[in-house]
Symmetry: C2
Subunit: 438 residues, 2 copies
Amino acid sequence: MLNPVKVGILGLGTVGGGTVSILQRNAQEIARRAGREIVITHACAKEIKPSADYRIENIALTQNLEEVVNNPELDIIVELLGGTTIAKEMILKAIHNGKHVVTANKALIAKYGNEIFQLAQEKGVMIGFEAAVAGGIPIIKAIREGLSANKIQWVAGIINGTSNFILTEMRDKGAEFADVLAEAQRLGYAEQDPTFDIEGIDAAHKLTIIAALAFGIPLQFDKVYTEGITQISSEDIGYANELGYRIKVLGIAKRTAKGVELRVHPTFIPHRRLIANVDGVMNAVLVHADAVGHTLYYGAGAGAEPTGSAVVADLVDVTRMLTTDPNNRVPHLAFQPDSLQDIPILPIDAIETAYYLRICSYDRPGMLAKITGILSNNNISIEAIVQKEPKENAAQVSVVILTHRVVERDVNQAIQAIEQLDGITGKVMRIRLETLDK
Amino acid sequence: MLNPVKVGILGLGTVGGGTVSILQRNAQEIARRAGREIVITHACAKEIKPSADYRIENIALTQNLEEVVNNPELDIIVELLGGTTIAKEMILKAIHNGKHVVTANKALIAKYGNEIFQLAQEKGVMIGFEAAVAGGIPIIKAIREGLSANKIQWVAGIINGTSNFILTEMRDKGAEFADVLAEAQRLGYAEQDPTFDIEGIDAAHKLTIIAALAFGIPLQFDKVYTEGITQISSEDIGYANELGYRIKVLGIAKRTAKGVELRVHPTFIPHRRLIANVDGVMNAVLVHADAVGHTLYYGAGAGAEPTGSAVVADLVDVTRMLTTDPNNRVPHLAFQPDSLQDIPILPIDAIETAYYLRICSYDRPGMLAKITGILSNNNISIEAIVQKEPKENAAQVSVVILTHRVVERDVNQAIQAIEQLDGITGKVMRIRLETLDK
């Protein structure tokens, strides 16, 4: 067998610890697959907590990142620092030094991937980033290699475990958002500052990467529309259930005749769809492609060992390809770098989808006629309509409407007009609805 | 761009037609990924039906298989003949001629893969067989590359669309097996001789391949236990629903301390598991591995374009790797050929699982005590027990029992003893039960 491949790791936190644990525990199994041992010989970390899961005796520890990325003995650098400043600097240095890089840093790839991949291409090194999207699910490999025969039409993913956990708990317990968020923070499923997760930013990072791989377009994080779950009430979740739907935060990348839709938002989906039954912190990505039809990939989207599983799979891939002619490797973004296409990304008001609308008003005669009249004037046809009296306030009614597919601009105009009607109380609640059937 | 890769195809039936259609329709998309065009230049088929889906003007047609496999212009041979005689001969010839091979032939790989891969290894050529398991789902790539960090503990798959369709229809319509089979034959979902599908043989072919990839063992089709669905009645399906389960034919490959379990049979699984909701002709494979936990892969397991999607993905992979040092490619069976392990395959009576038992008897006092006494004597503890009076015959009762996990030998002994009790009518129905939780 060849000499071991030597790996330096930047960061020994949750994912770093998981990565080292897996490499040590499954060393034999991994070498039987890769044809070589893969060994972490150097690590940079601010402090090393003693761990029952892995041994550090044979790892040279330092607090100096440059010592690792500049070490001529190392073949591969694993970047698990997080953030987009020092991590970026270290990755670029490693590439300049001719080292291959594996990273779990979704924000970095989403924002600076184009630049990083271009330099990697020039230097003939590989960048593995399977761990950046949906943790342990090999979704990058599936889209980039497994579906390479296909024209991919759309991808819809539950790619943020925290928000999926919160929505699942709200449904199962009939609880409100703020209470469930507090519980998720206690359990460690949500950060003390949960903005990245609950406002859809984390999902937008991953969606940016998925869309590039699926459509052969550059990474364009700044064009992703994001909408979080803070406005979702248990009332909406209750209506969803009654109507045969689940509310899930989906990251949706869709190719249309007019351009590409890139959007993260709470979404009504029919409860019989397999992806509607992906609950708790689990992730799943549904892909619709012209030859294969629907495929779905499900698993843990976060956690030390699931994410470490993806990091190590990338290490095995890089190890197998170490001696390959760089021009014959799998392109970083699935398509050859000179063949990326600059398809326009649609602004959110130009997308087309169906909608759930919840309108609160005083219970007055003629109100329903006025609302449906406004919808009709804006070319919105109605799939279902339900009128309910909320328990708390018998003088008011909730009108719940599911629309057919329509351009968002028209829905926004209709909502504006409805909110100006006399007797309407509060804002109209609007949640996009996707049938995910074709 | 480099010259096109030239491909010869053996067989232009359903999957062959799908493969050619995809390669022509998505030619540009595929070349943008592979870095080269991939073109079918030669085809061997008994007759070519004119197709609206693809053009044959630029394909040299022949009825002589050897003309294709011996053609020095061709880089890759796609084998879609089916069967294990001529197909095997042609693949071995192609390998001898230094050509890479892509095949969808699950029976051939399951039975003769060890021999084929060894010759391919000697000749330095690649054999792609993604299309042989679960059609368009990139499950071979997922297990072989995506999960390479893991020690895989078990795989459980719905890998035969026909039997899944029949069980789904039986449940949805309350129909009996024979009627649904006849319907499936009318719809073209089942062959006129349905033995391969309904007796679990097709699933056993696929399971053989999955197990080799998951555990690093040789292909051992002859050691797979198979049990079909012909004995499943609507009564069993009804009890499953009442008790919170679904009946699915699973192909199960499991690593235990005593050896490897390889078995295909109808299985009770909790209805809340995602895989329990995979209905109709769809396929899904659930993998449990030490680092990543549960992952699931879902999609169409058959059909012209889904299977063609997998064939073409293999063509892209082979194209990318054409110039690679053969020793650095992904090993055919996931593990380096010299590191396969000969772990014993357990005989079926040595496996350990839980069981559903349905016992029919005349309604006599003391019967339940006798049955539970026999179970107890055979170390079988009971998870749930229900006694029912069938509508048709009020003098009889059905006793339905779910057991805890137990060695199959003990269950068989208990069943034998129960069947000898006075008052028992007919055979005891026994269906294995898997919770799929760990």
